[in-house]
Symmetry: C2
Subunit: 391 residues, 2 copies
């Protein structure tokens, strides 16, 4: 990472995050939650900083390179806070994320196949100081990338993607992975930089992950042995997810860790036991707009503010729970309506009352909104745009 | 509607929509689909114009006032095209929609409880030429609105909202509806403008709607009889939805119709039989980025481009179907990945190939994107921002 690039931004963000002052980047007049228009996402800055510190400490303790995925926050301000805590670089999914993050980071992994003319053109146009690595799983993607990199006069790192059970992207057999690694190594405009996988299929609660992790370890070791036998041992092995975040060291081959959700956490993370409820940093502030239908209350956060994401844990209905009443959940939604289930609570919501919802899946909430407010207690301290939203 | 306000915009939009010229508002260099970056929403302009014409003709034929819901398109350009075809005004859900639409329309219904200080402040700040009507279902909302309207020196129309089976917002008994109508009528800053309901619970296919519509008609007539007996007969009865769009005249009491989805339609509308597949005007253009996992192909449209909306019709899996291969559907999604189910097709997708997805629920797709491209055939003719997205 070029110190000249990151020093200023890091300094700014460090000062802001540490001091509790209003952000010098996005100062706003002091206000309380009750003056905010709803629905709007809030980030509890104390909780976020604790989440960032905790995982940075874990990766340091286990000698893992931390390359957080920015898809969760889509903000260069938060990325800078991650880099300031020792992240080696960032992970992006979209071209826009890579472009926005290049303002604060010059070591970027695009963990997404660089397929399509527009995607390649924009990636090759990233500032030349950016060390760019991409993940891919096909000869077609590798050949097109090699040609684009060559034409742009840059050398692009490549992680070959293995499917270790997620069944999304990635090659399934050691032979296929070795063949693609060979193809990558044969191009002078590419650098075979490592092996990557995503264990997003491991959704067991933390206390039941052992079997799944043992299977993952076996499959990963088999791929690494095949690459090593072919004379192409991976320099980097990049893996990990938020649900397995504190178990990543149980896969000794992994050298780099790419969690996303941990910065804010969400109802799924808490239900899986991968964080405490008090570690859920992002909530959606909403207002009760109707109590006309008996047995429910309607808030102004629906699908267009919360997303229709199921709880990706063992059990649980609905689309989010209230921060202050965890026995109340969002049972159903329309585009701008969230129907709160009141069957298990003695709370009697009033029209006009504000509530805060812990969403099932926080990455979608951020993507649905343009602005996030940072709070401490009931005081709105700062505000930042979701700058890498959009395309 | 003030002619001076709408004439220019209507003229512009009429010329653009009718002539097939590039939009004078958002000219873009000529391009073909293959040069577009994906994922991106496309609107087939011929299909959209046919959808707009068809429903305008239906409402004219049945003497219904048409007040289309802009939540589906969130664009003043499309709203202007609806007004140019005879719409009496527009329906909005959010404050931002009302603000954006006030540039092209001065008769706006906010079909959403105007609860919360910020919401009221911004609604009262709409240009004074705008005839504003809001729907509400509580005394608390009515009292706060009356005070805000009085302070702003404006008179605001109110539709009292009835719940006729949807169980979302709306009062459930004639007695409650009469009591709220009386309260509204007692405030000089409010005008009791009518009765509203939303039959969004009627999701039967068009050929099986008769029973549900008969029940709706009975419930509606009962409410109107109670209001009439109380000396408060509703001047406007506002109802209707896209799935029931061509059956609205079977509710003779309804005077105003507020469909949204009909402008683009979607997989749900087609599966219900409320439109033909050829009436689906909006698709998401996507690129195949991986075929590494056997039996599937992965496209770059996932939850963040398509939304995780279920098919809201009788049967059907997945989150969308391909325009050119309706036997292929999006079986599963991650944030930026859509997994195509290939079990019923002989089509062999290649990495880099483009596809077009008809989404389950088009309103969410529009909300997830910032820009929409208008096409005729394979030619990209124009482009417009989703201007009323956001808050």
């Amino acid at each position: 990472m070029a110190d000249t690039v990151n020093a200023t931004t890091h300094g700014t963000c460090r000062r802001w995050l540490a001091s509790g002052e209003e952000s010098p980047l996005f100062p706003i007049p002091p206000m309380t939650l009750t003056t905010l228009e709803t629905p709007v996402p809030l980030v509890d800055l104390d909780r976020m900083e604790r989440n960032l510190d905790r995982l940075a400490g874990y990766t340091r303790a286990h000698g893992l390179a931390l390359r957080p995925h920015v898809k969760t926050h889509k903000s260069p301000i938060i990325a800078a806070a991650q880099l300031q805590r020792g992240a080696a670089g960032v992970t992006c999914a979209t071209t826009r994320e890579a472009e926005v993050m290049s303002a604060v980071c010059d070591d970027i992994l695009v963990a997404y196949p660089p397929v399509g003319e527009g995607r390649l053109r924009r990636l090759m146009a990233l500032a030349s100081r950016v060390r760019l690595t991409v993940a891919l799983d096909s000869a077609a993607a590798a050949e097109a990338l090699a040609a684009a990199a060559s034409a742009a006069g840059r050398r692009v790192g490549v992680y070959v993607e293995a499917d270790l059970g997620m069944r999304r992207v990635g090659l399934g057999t050691p032979a296929e992975i070795v063949a693609l690694a060979r193809l990558v190594a044969s191009h002078s405009s590419l650098e075979l930089a490592g092996l990557t996988f995503y264990p997003g299929h491991i959704r067991e609660s933390v206390d039941k992950q052992a079997v799944a992790l043992a299977e993952l370890r076996r499959a990963l070791d088999e791929v690494i042995a095949a690459l090593t036998a072919a004379g192409l041992p991976p320099r980097v092995v990049s893996g990990g997810s938020t649900p397995t975040m504190m178990s990543t060291h149980q896969l000794p081959a992994v050298t780099e860790f790419r969690p996303g959700t941990y910065v804010f956490n969400d109802r799924t993370t808490a239900e899986l036991g991968a964080c405490d409820w008090d570690d859920c940093a992002l909530t959606v502030l909403a207002t009760v707009v109707s109590t006309a239908v008996p047995g429910q209350a309607v808030i102004d956060a629906g699908t267009k503010a919360l997303g229709r994401e199921p709880l990706r844990a063992n059990a649980g209905d609905g689309f989010g729970v209230l921060l202050s009443h965890r026995d109340v959940y969002v049972r159903a939604m329309s585009e701008e309506h969230g129907m709160l289930e009141l069957g298990s609570t003695s709370w009697k919501p009033r029209v006009g009352e504000q509530v805060r919802v812990i969403p099932n899946h926080v990455c979608i909430v951020v993507h649905l909104n343009d602005v996030v407010h940072g709070i401490r207690g009931d005081r709105v301290e700062t505000s930042w745009p979701v700058e890498a939203r959009g395309r």
